[in-house]
């Protein structure tokens, strides 16, 4: 399918594809096995200007849009979902600064993120605050020119590897989620440490750690936006990032499908390639149809979001929800087509299946996505009735 991409978008897609195929594919199994953070590849992505695409030109970026990020994510994920999320999390960490940051904060942090010199990360989730962000316990209490952070963030992607963290903490607990604020914390700040690296089912080359704050003092100028805007900043950040996770799921599904298709044409049983059997053909047809539907949805939502609509939570959630659900289905079927070979770690298919699962969970579980979609639609319907 021709999605009528711009010349710049084709450059971005091809650049990401070249790195994915030449640099990531040969090492992905080892990265997965060793659970090793892919610094060499992060450097390649940085040198190719791929971290610049989500940052405005004024701060050293290329001022591309959500669709451009999705194209890069799809290509990287086709090779390795773990590398892809390490890349995407830097965008996720940068979004609160991009959306609500002051001019000084943008000048200070964005150029290093755009050049890939520093990675960013986003700290929202806690042990008791997953889908329910109002359960946040981490506090940032004002003390003179500083906020004093206390608490623990859980499962933070790029934790320990990133230099710049945007963290959601309560500056006024009495106000509930309206008392949450977004703050920038730099690695190396006294009182800021990391928990152990988590062991995961999939995306194992990515780094997932706790962020631990113990009387960590950060200057007041590190507050993003105003006090109390933290929850809004988090929700708007996730609105912007969800299509990227959709694109990650899409790339994973595409990669698994291509493995299964190739295998089915080579694998001979009952004297014929198994691709000649209708049972396999129908599976492949369903997989390819779902993938193309997900791609069409993600690209159109991303294009729509690049027009800066006021409210795009519903569409953004749809893109993530649909693509991640079909990625799980497609990768399970890819393993099934390959049978015992698909189950073996010698082939990449089982990794696609393990990597796919997280896309239904993070950036809001798919159950939460359905809440977002339904509530948004009901709100729109009620708004029209006025």
């Amino acid at each position: 399918m021709d999605y009528l991409l711009s010349e710049q978008q084709i450059f971005i897609r091809d650049t990401a594809r070249e790195i994915a195929q030449k640099k990531i594919l040969p090492v992905r199994a080892e990265l997965d096995e060793q659970e090793e953070f892919p610094w060499d590849i992060i450097k390649e992505l940085a040198a190719a200007d791929l971290f610049a695409i989500f940052v405005p030109e004024a701060y050293g970026g290329l001022d591309a849009g959500i669709l451009d990020v999705c194209l890069a994510m799809e290509e990287i994920s086709k090779a390795c979902g773990g590398v892809a999320v390490s890349y995407a999390s830097s965008a996720l960490g940068a979004f609160p600064i991009l959306l609500y940051g002051s001019e000084e904060q943008k000048q200070k942090y964005l150029p290093d993120i755009a050049s890939g010199k520093k990675l960013a990360a986003f700290g929202l989730t806690e042990a008791g605050a997953g889908s329910d962000a109002s359960g946040i316990q981490t506090t940032a209490l004002p003390d003179g020119d500083h906020y004093v952070l206390n608490g623990t963030k859980q499962w933070i992607t790029n934790g320990g590897e990133a230099e710049i963290y945007t963290v959601i903490a309560m500056t006024n607990k009495a106000r509930g989620i309206r008392g949450a604020s977004a703050l920038i914390v730099e690695k190396g700040t006294p009182g800021f440490s990391f928990g152990k690296k988590e062991k995961k089912l999939g995306i194992r080359s990515s780094s997932t750690r706790e962020l631990i704050f113990e009387d960590c003092r950060i200057p007041k100028e590190n507050l993003i936006g105003k006090e109390g805007q933290g929850f809004l900043a988090a929700m708007k950040t996730l609105d912007k990032s969800r299509p990227g996770i959709g694109a990650q799921a899409l790339g994973i599904a595409q990669g698994a499908y291509e493995e299964a298709l190739r295998y089915s044409r080579e694998r001979v049983q009952f004297g014929k390639p198994i691709s000649s059997f209708q049972a396999i053909q129908h599976m492949l047809a369903d997989m390819a149809t779902k993938i193309e539907a997900a791609r069409a949805l993600i690209y159109s939502v991303a294009r729509y979001m690049d027009t800066n609509p006021k409210d795009m939570s519903v569409e953004s959630a749809m893109a993530k929800l649909y693509a991640s659900d079909i990625a799980m289905e497609v990768t399970v079927d890819a393993v099934q087509i390959m049978g015992g070979y698909g189950y073996m770690r010698e082939y990449p298919t089982e990794k696609y299946m393990r990597d796919a699962k997280i896309t239904q969970i993070y950036e809001g579980t798919n159950q939460i996505q359905r809440n977002v979609i339904a509530l948004g639609l009901i709100k729109r319907s009620a708004g029209k009735g006025k």
């Binding site: 710049q8 450059f11 650049t15 030449k22 390649e44 190719a48 200007d49």
Partner: protein, 263 residues
């Protein structure tokens, strides 16, 4: 520092065709690429720029289609390029080529370091680099597999030799030709691709370079290709199979003795 890299456009290796009449390579209408060895030279030059600042320029000689090759290296981060392009340059052997390139360097004027790929994969002579150094009266370091240190006025490089290596120091400017062991060339960047999109190298003709017309192109080439052919493949070897490793080893020893290679 200003580093200039000599780059050649060569036929894509999968598609080499020889003109049976002339014995030379068909260059028209075949897919082309940047000589892979020259990409190692470009990468090394970009690293010097990253370390010391300055500029990387690429110099090439060839028909107008070489602009495609120049755009490719521009997308890797090269700052600028010059193309020596004139019908009179055509048919040059390595001597005429290196003379013409040397005139190009005279026109460029100031530079600190010249990198070349050791050979071009089409002609595979590895002569242009050292000849260029002769024309320019500069030191030449060939077969370089590692740059130990480079700074204004000084270079220290490891050469690859048949029996190991050599460490060579030299003043700059110098001509340095590199082997494929030296690095892994970077992939094009987005900014590079955007710059390359509209890039067109300044071209210099024979008149621009103030060349001696007797020393360029076919006329200036003392060597010419009589015939190109694919050598007969060597005869197949013999596989010693069957039995355990001790038996195979003794069979092998017997064979060696039979051949009189050693007793």
């Amino acid at each position: 520092m200003k580093i200039v890299v000599c780059v050649k456009q060569v036929p894509d290796t999968i598609n080499v065709r020889i003109n049976e009449k002339t014995g030379t390579m068909e260059r028209e209408g075949v897919p082309t690429m940047v000589n892979p060895y020259d990409l190692y030279a470009v990468e090394e030059a970009l690293r010097v720029k990253e370390q010391h600042g300055g500029e990387v320029m690429v110099l090439s000689m060839g028909p107008p289609q070489v602009q495609d090759a120049l755009r490719e290296v521009i997308s890797m981060g090269v700052d600028d390029a010059r193309l020596l392009c004139d019908r009179e340059f055509a048919g040059a052997d390595t001597l005429a080529t290196s003379y013409t390139l040397a005139r190009g360097f005279a026109r460029i004027g100031e530079y600190d370091l010249i990198y070349c790929g050791k050979p071009a994969i089409d002609g595979d002579t590895a002569q242009v680099g050292p000849e260029l150094a002769e024309h320019l009266n500069l030191p030449f370091i060939g077969f370089v597999r590692k740059i130990r240190e480079v700074r204004p006025g000084f270079i220290c490089a490891e050469r690859m030799t048949d029996d190991g290596g050599e460490v060579v120091e030299s003043s700059l400017p110098a001509v340095v030709s590199v082997v494929k062991e030296i690095n892994e060339p970077r992939l094009p960047s987005l900014r590079g691709k955007m710059k390359a999109k509209s890039f067109e190298a300044v071209t210099w003709s024979a008149a621009d370079l103030e060349v001696d017309r007797e020393r360029i192109g076919l006329k200036g080439s003392p060597t010419w290709v009589v015939r190109s052919f694919t050598p007969e493949p060597r005869g197949g070897g013999e596989i010693l199979a069957g039995g355990d490793s001790a038996e195979i080893a003794s069979k092998l020893a017997e064979k060696i003795r039979e051949l009189g290679v050693c007793s």
